[in-house]
């Protein structure tokens, strides 16, 4: 008997059937991957399981018993836990407090103990959990000081502490470094060995093939096929997802770099907590060239892009665009001068969630013709027309341009930002993790667009945690380590091994980082 069975689930949103008669099951002790294009209905299905949406039709069975799930609290009571992509942790609380938060009452039934929280016995229980699952963390550190991978571990501990038997991971690896992904898949094995069931959603098919026992492909709300990992290949899954063959290869002709577009000189910058994140960094990007920044996340890539996109707290150094010193310019001046920016943290910087797609599509250019007329009157028709054509060009799955951005699937939200920035006719495109959370077909399309931009003579600065992405797009690769560029290599001489070596700070002799 499966641990969990969802039968014939249908969920309709205005203008879309997000789940159309979906049946899905999960055995104890397996990792079941759910894959499909952006907007296929993966997150919706899991939100139904987690009680965030009620299904229009269909039933949920736990251990063969039909049940209904009224909300997240109820879901966890029934043994279903979800690790969100944006963690639900209190940053200033310690790991221990985060884990017991909201559960402290249940675990101390006596009245007196309700007043006095017996942290010692709770701590012992959690320590035992950590050991059994190999999820060691420092219980007393505040969560905000922990790397993303460890925070995710805390999320998992939280669910285990509450007795989760089914764990749902919706794109958990998008924010992790390769090392952290390794750690996560080890955790998966530990958990399944104890008989827990795991649902794993990802757009990275290599990962899926690595960790999944079974793979289910969903397309436009319908289940296409459920297959065992044995015999599954990347190409086969991609074909099933998209409904037509996917190339998975980029045609990227050698660049002929022309004049210099971007130059940063001796940049030194600190983050909000005063830690040095860029130290004396210099870099140039030319028209018709893609420069890729490789590096383990947190080595200053984010800040480098930010200093170019906005007026950051630069301690010293200069930023030049086409020879002009733009260090003191604000975002609007920089955008007007031709800088477009696909931000890394799209939820924080990318979209006005309650605004229409049309409004979001012109953000950054919303203040000038053709989108406004005299006296600043907004030209709704021009805005909507532009949005419609961009939605079509980028194959953004939505009922229409008046749909609010929050109603789009995660990947389609990202496509909106990418479409907006790429269509801004920039002379310099800053692309941070441009394909994160985006499906395989859209990834291919975005690659083509980036290469196209280069061929049109634009300068592109690309930051990505995905080495394959860097290697297939870049004409020149720079490796960042501790706020510096420690290695630079032309594409035809670049090897993955060499780059990986420098990413770990090899040259500095502390490769245990």
């Amino acid at each position: 008997m499966p641990l969990l069975r969802m039968e014939n689930i249908t969920k309709v949103f205005p203008g879309v059937v997000a789940n159309d008669g979906v049946s899905f099951d999960l055995q104890a002790g397996e990792v079941h991957a759910l894959v499909g294009e952006n907007g296929a209905g993966k997150t919706t299905l899991m939100k139904i399981l987690y009680g965030l949406y009620g299904p229009d039709k269909g039933g949920i069975f736990i251990n063969g018993q039909e049940t209904s799930i009224s909300g997240p609290r109820n879901a966890i009571d029934q043994g279903i836990g979800m690790v969100h992509q944006h963690f639900m942790l209190v940053p200033v609380f310690s790991v221990l407090d985060n884990i017991i938060l909201g559960e402290e009452r249940e675990s101390t039934p006596k009245l007196l103990q309700r007043l006095y929280l017996d942290k010692r016995s709770l701590r012992a229980r959690i320590a035992e959990l950590m050991e059994r699952n190999h999820l060691e963390t420092d219980l007393d550190r505040p969560v905000r000081e922990l790397p993303v991978g460890v925070q995710q571990r805390v999320e998992i501990l939280k669910l285990l502490f509450r007795g989760a038997e089914v764990l749902v991971f919706d794109e958990p690896t998008a924010v992790l470094t390769p090392q952290e992904i390794e750690g996560l898949s080890r955790t998966f094995r530990e958990l399944t060995a104890q008989g827990k069931g795991i649902v794993f959603i990802s757009h990275k098919l290599d990962e899926v093939l690595q960790v999944a026992d079974r793979i289910t492909v969903i397309r436009r709300g319908k289940i296409i096929e459920t297959m065992p990992r044995e015999g599954a290949t990347k190409a086969k899954i991609a074909d099933l997802m998209v409904g037509k063959p996917v190339l998975l290869k980029v045609d990227n002709p050698q660049a002929e770099p022309k004049e210099e577009v971007l130059r940063v000189e001796h940049l030194t910058a600190a983050d909000d907590r005063g830690a040095m994140v860029l130290s004396d960094l210099s870099l140039a990007v030319h028209a018709g060239e893609i420069v890729g920044i490789a590096g383990v996340e947190g080595n200053g890539q984010t800040e480098l892009i930010r200093t170019i996109a906005e007026r950051e707290k630069i301690i010293s150094g200069e930023v030049y665009l086409k020879g002009e010193n733009i260090t003191s310019w604000d975002v609007r001046e920089r955008r007007e001068a031709g800088i477009a920016h696909i931000p890394e943290d799209r939820h924080r910087y990318g979209l006005l969630l309650s605004f229409s797609l049309a409004d979001n599509m012109v953000l950054g250019r919303h203040h000038r013709p053709p989108f406004v007329g005299p006296i600043g009157w907004r030209k709704t028709k021009a805005i909507r027309e532009f949005a419609r054509s961009t939605i079509a060009a980028y194959d953004i799955r939505t009922p229409g341009e008046t749909t609010p951005a929050h109603a789009l699937s995660g990947g389609n939200q990202q496509k909106v930002i990418i479409a907006r920035e790429m269509s801004a006719d920039p002379i310099l495109l800053l692309a941070s993790q441009p394909t994160r959370g985006v499906d395989i077909g859209a990834t291919e399309f975005i690659y083509k667009q980036i290469v196209e931009a280069k061929l049109q003579g634009r300068a592109v600065l690309l930051v990505s945690a995905d080495l394959d992405e860097i290697l297939s797009l870049s004409d020149r690769v720079c490796v960042m380590y501790k706020g510096k560029i420690v290695y630079e290599v032309a594409r035809d001489q670049a090897t993955k091994e060499q780059i990986g070596f420098y990413m770990m700070g090899a040259e500095h002799g502390d490769d245990n980082e």
């Binding site: 229009d56 919706d170 924080r348 953000l363 919303h366 907004r378």
Partner: protein, 366 residues
Amino acid sequence: MATTTSRRETLLRLLSPVIGFFAAIVILLVIVVAVGEGPGAAIRAILRITFGNPSRTATVLSQAIPLYIAGVAVAFAFQAGVFNIGVEGQYFVGGFVAALVGIYLKLPPIIHIPLVVIAAMIGGALWAAVPALLKVGRGVHEVITTIMFNSIAIYLMNFLVNRPFNGLEVGESLEPQTKAIAETALFGRLNGFFQALGWKIGDHVYLDYSLIVALMVGVVVWIVIYKLRFGFEVRSIGEAIDVSRYAGMRVKRVQVSAFLISGGIAGLIGLQEIFAIRGFYTYQIAGGLGFDGIAIALIGLNNPLGIVFSALLFSFLRQAGYGLQLYTSVPNSVSYVITGLMIIIIVVTNELVVRYVRNLRKREVA
């Protein structure tokens, strides 16, 4: 379960004040019964004072005018993510500046009246300027500064009216006040116009020029917020500051502008009281409208159209309180309690609904 989230969302948002209103009525009846009055009598009293004859209905409309302007003033700042709690002080000051222009300038009405309106806006905006600049320049939270500026305004006006601008002969009245406002600046009434349209309202009701001011404010604000690029930036900043900054918006500049505009609108709240009803300025012009404006803006969803509804609702509730006091044995103080309670209930219901909707939406973000 068949309803989808966003359809439910729109429905709830529209219905929430109505739900709140009926919840409030039920509680009102409970209280009325508790103090020993019949629910039927209470309802009759309320209907009588509000819809008993055309003049009474017109009074509801008349009282809604300053409430409406107050609601729009607060809403404009809210739209930009600025919490202007200082509307109270801004209208005290705006009204004072306007009164000075009304008292000391000699002009034909066609110029004098618009000038008075402009002066009120300038006064209100000036009083908002310091908190606005402190916010963007020094990061001082506007809730603190505007509350402080409310106190300053009230006592400053108190002082000014008592001393330098006191217009009273000795022994004339106990209420300190300025000199009388010039005839040319006084707001006439539109009652004749409404009577001509067949609405049989009495001459004593104040449907004066401030109604025109309120309508103009509503229309202009609606256009600015929903049709102009500036309004788009205002709403965008109110929704997500970081996103707006990344889109190249000059967040501080827009917030300061919205703050000043909010203060400018606030300056207009006292016009009816000063220029149509009293004909002079006193620091005792109806207080508390600035705070009512916060609730009115919230219930009206910060939209100039929604605020028409919420301002009328507020005015209705006030009158209902008077009605209870007048026609039933519900004691005076209880009727105030009831009015206050109804407002709270409506605000809370509304806020609960809005929060519920927001939660639904948050969950959808993934």
